[in-house]
Subunit: 147 residues, 2 copies
Amino acid sequence: MTMLPHQITLANDLATAGHRLTAARRRVADLIGARDGHFTAAELLADARARRLKIGRASVFRTLDLLTELNVLERVDLPTGEHAYVACRPAHHHHVICRVCGQVAEVDDAGLDDVAAEMERRTGFEIDTHRLELYGRCPACRTERAR
Amino acid sequence: MTMLPHQITLANDLATAGHRLTAARRRVADLIGARDGHFTAAELLADARARRLKIGRASVFRTLDLLTELNVLERVDLPTGEHAYVACRPAHHHHVICRVCGQVAEVDDAGLDDVAAEMERRTGFEIDTHRLELYGRCPACRTERAR
DNA sequence: GTTTTTGCAAACCATTTGCAGGGTC
DNA sequence: GACCCTGCAAATGGTTTGCAAAAAC
């Protein structure tokens, strides 16, 4: 449930997982670190262009995939249908997403397992995974004028 | 938590919501009714072609959007990243999706609200929506050989 | 008759892939 | 030096759009 800078971690994770620490990857990691909240591949690409960084479209996608595999990035589907990514620690589970500013907070299961168990009981399904995404307004955006 | 035939409903809903009940829409509704579990736009299109029904690609997408707006269809994002649709009642509920056969069961909140409330408390966010998708194996696929 | 829908094809957008050159270990 | 990674541009796959003809009300 915290929002930490991840850029250092990102680069590290790449290196330690037996992947080469290249300029392109470092740039993508920086761009991600410079953002907070969720972001799409397109936004990252735009950021890169804005900063006049030379990164190929494909490399951005490839790096995003790689980081997702390493579990330092997670892909979420926004209610709009867009695919976004959020940086997060490799254990954690669910995301609360601010629909005003895009800020993301992480929360642990907080009893969700029990709910899943209950649903398992009711449906007869054997449930092995679940995805929960919550949307609302972050503390900052809440106070900012009733709106 | 049931799986009912929806085709009749689908057509009805269209008509009563001030939309024209056209051949194309009726065909899409039939195709949806003939499926159980989730399906993608592409699958529906394939079904139509298989049955030699004349429906334009665009009409399928347009009808799908329309039905989604009417809340008789819901769009879910499979873990694979695919977009699928499931027919369902226009109330708040969640889906349990069988990863073997694609069968979908509906469940109501079963205590999720409390979990959400807890997460609200912990993060300071004001949560107004959530999406939960559960994946596993349905009763039928469970019994079908340990696998 | 007016307004909504359709089907088609082209347009679009996001993501992927093949490949030759360049960088990293 | 070997292998991994990059950038590019072209290919792809899914979804949308513009428009004139056709259907619904």
